[in-house]
């Protein structure tokens, strides 16, 4: 991912140098613009747009904004990763055109958001799927299989060594050391923690009795701030294990555990397996509201169960007229195949096509 970004930057630098030099090398320009149009299913609109919210989808939105602004020089889109709570608050206050959120609007927020939109309700559009990796640091163990009950016990201090019988049963072929497990969780409040706990609650109800929420509740864990923090903690601590968004584990080169879900084979984290889990989700919203209820306990073949779905929250009707065109244009890009494909480079999973099409249709009728 880093390479491709560097390559793109280099390309940009090269082409702009060429343009500046005004050599008139006409052969160069089509190449450059052809590269641009690879990304674009973009119908440009002009103006400025401010949005704020979830930091979990920041990298995705940044990627989209970069592509969109690259194709449409007249547009400026500014996404502040202030956190879901702050994002929703700013949306309700009317200072932003849409909010990014790790969870759909809650009951009390629905009414406030509707009041903001004046002529219609606010709707939740699932837009970014962030698979959550179980990343670990264990010398000599390249493949590790874990399941929900084992994870529930690890993240509550009840499995404390790597050669615990439960882990050995899951990994008959691995030689697990007798060293202590050092589980790391997020010290800040985070949608990732919330999803992981919801997963544990659903898939291991007997073992996980600590509830969910954005604060991680399991006892006996060390914690570190933000995704960067837990990633760094696992890198520097032998025997450590954590949950972190897939992109962080991937970029840091950490080993990632497969999850045994009850399907015939343990599921590896890939864009495809994460999308599979979202496909199994049920839409609980009505009309164009596409709030999803994930089935964390899914046993579907090849469905990776620990995923974070983040939403864009917009007014179904009632977006100020001067922002509407750009908002619709931008969101139809993000929900297009081209937009979703961009995400795989930065560690997210694309929306499964059934849901993507619904999102696209909902965006098309925003007014």
């Amino acid at each position: 991912m880093k390479l491709s970004r560097t390559a793109r930057l280099t390309g940009l630098a090269l082409s702009s140098t060429l343009l500046l030099a005004a050599c008139g090398t006409d052969e160069q320009r089509p190449v450059a613009s052809a590269e641009d149009t690879v990304d674009s299913g973009i119908t440009c609109a002009e103006g400025g747009l401010t949005a704020a919210g979830s930091s979990a989808q920041k990298n995705a939105v940044d990627e989209w904004v970069k592509a969109y602004q690259g194709a449409c020089p007249g547009a400026t889109i500014n996404y502040q990763s202030a956190g879901s709570g702050a994002g929703i608050e700013q949306f309700i206050a009317g200072t932003t055109a849409f909010a990014g959120s790790d969870s759909a609007l809650k009951d009390d927020e629905v009414a406030q958001a509707a009041a903001r939109c004046k002529t219609g309700p606010a709707i939740n559009l699932p837009m970014v799927i962030g698979p959550v990796a179980i990343a670990y640091n264990l010398d000599g163990v390249d493949e590790l299989v874990l399941d929900a009950p084992a994870l529930a016990k690890i993240f509550s201090g009840r499995i404390t060594t790597w050669d615990d019988a439960a882990l050995q049963a899951l990994n008959p072929d691995a030689s697990l050391p007798s060293s202590r497990i050092q589980p790391f969780v997020r010290s800040d409040e985070s949608g990732t923690s919330d999803n992981v706990q919801k997963y544990l609650e659903a898939a291991a109800p007997a073992e996980w009795t600590f509830g969910d929420g954005k604060k991680f509740n399991g006892p006996g864990n060390q914690s570190a701030a933000k995704s960067d923090g837990v990633t760094q903690a696992v890198i520097s601590t032998p025997g450590a294990v954590t949950y972190v968004e897939g992109s962080f584990a991937e970029n840091a080169g950490l080993s990632v555990a497969k999850i045994s879900t009850g399907a015939s084979e343990p599921v590896e984290l890939t864009g495809e397996t994460a999308g599979e889990a979202v496909e199994a989700a049920t839409v609980t919203g009505t009309g164009n509201d596409l709030s999803l209820k994930l089935d964390y306990a899914t046993k579907d073949e090849g469905a990776y169960p620990i995923v974070l779905v983040t939403y864009e929250i917009v007014c179904e009707k009632g977006t100020p007229a001067d922002q509407l065109e750009l908002l619709t244009s931008f969101l139809s890009f993000t929900s297009s195949d081209e937009g979703q494909d961009l995400l795989e480079d930065v560690g997210y999973a694309p929306l499964p096509s059934s849901i993507r099409k619904k999102v696209e249709a909902a965006v098309a009728v925003l007014s």
Partner: protein, 333 residues
């Protein structure tokens, strides 16, 4: 001033009004300048008071709805779960951790800071003292996030080793209880805080020590005092109020330090003296930083309420410092 201005007029008045007029005009403009300046400084003082009152009012107003929804006792509980459906939060663990980590930091920083200050003011050769002073001031200007990153990337490993050693050999000491996992602890946070407040205390103390009248120092030396005795009898007593003031400034920074602590600490809402282990405490400021972004409106109110407590703690610390300095002054006078 008044005696000066009353003497010239008689000598001028015989020459006529023309001579006196500019003078009176000058005098009244002086008065106007006085008045304007007094007004400006009064305004500055009042606006500071106004800002403090405004902050306090803001904190109270924002905190009250959350406090009303609170199902636990804010002042006596250690639980912190303000985003739950039935929010429950208490300040005890946070306040304890804040004060503990700051006091530890102070205990570590103060002796070193005084040593640095005395070295620069009384021991170092002049050629060294200048640059050293600059370096100390430079340390004070390093952003706290840098200290935090340095703390977690570099210092944590060392602290883990040190903690293991301490737990093994002096584990009987109440602060050094442990269960085999170290680092990301209140101990680490305190060390980082100590390093952050060290330059503040050192820099201000140095200034105070440099103000000690040479006559007193020479008198002490003339009476046969060694340099250490001179420092003990002349420099330290003179500098004491200043050092206390500097210490309180440092303590204020330690109490309110946010991001460095948030980065290095593995926080937990417990009242614990086991400073070597992770999950041995939390601080108010770090908790606000970690919780604010994803907080519900009640959660935010709870965090603001905790901010109010921090405000109060800082205020108490400052008032105490004032009281100490004041009493000192009465004694020496």
């Amino acid at each position: 001033m008044s005696s000066l201005s009353t003497t010239p007029p008689p000598s001028v008045s015989p020459d006529g009004r023309a001579g006196t007029l500019p003078r009176t005009g000058g005098r009244s403009s002086e008065r106007r300048g006085d008045r304007v300046f007094r007004g400006l400084s009064l305004g500055a003082g009042l606006s500071l008071l106004g800002i403090i009152v405004a902050i306090a009012v803001f904190l109270v107003v924002q905190a009250v709805p959350a406090l009303r929804d609170n199902t636990a006792s804010f002042l006596t509980d250690t639980v912190w779960d303000p985003n739950a459906a039935s929010p429950a939060f208490g300040i005890v663990a946070l306040a304890f951790g804040t004060v503990l980590s700051s006091l530890l930091a102070l205990a570590m920083a103060l002796p070193v800071a005084l040593g640095v200050a005395l070295f620069i003011s009384h021991y170092a050769p002049r050629r060294l003292a200048g640059p050293l002073g600059y370096v100390v001031d430079l340390l004070a200007a390093v952003p706290s996030v840098v200290y935090g990153l340095w703390g977690i990337f570099f210092l944590n490993d060392k602290v883990i080793d040190t903690s293991a050693f301490l737990a093994e050999h002096v584990g009987w000491f109440p602060l050094f209880g442990a269960d085999g996992i170290y680092g990301r602890s209140v101990f680490l946070a305190s060390i980082v805080l100590a390093i952050m407040i060290l330059p503040i205390i050192a820099s201000l103390s140095r200034e105070v020590f440099l103000q000690v009248p040479t006559s007193q120092q020479e008198a002490a030396l003339a009476l046969g005092a060694t340099r250490w005795e001179m420092i003990r009898t002349a420099v330290l007593p003179f500098g004491k109020p200043g050092v206390i003031g500097a210490t309180m400034l440092g303590l204020g920074r330690a109490l309110g330090e946010t991001i460095a602590v948030a980065i290095v600490l593995s926080p937990a809402f417990v009242v614990s003296l086991d400073i070597l282990t992770p999950n041995s405490g939390n601080t108010i400021a770090a908790n606000i930083a970690l919780g604010f972004a994803e907080a519900s409106s009640t959660g935010r109110g709870a965090l603001i309420a905790s901010g109010l407590v921090l405000f109060a703690i800082t205020l108490v610390v400052n008032v105490l410092a004032r009281a100490i300095i004041h009493r000192r002054r009465e004694f020496t006078a």
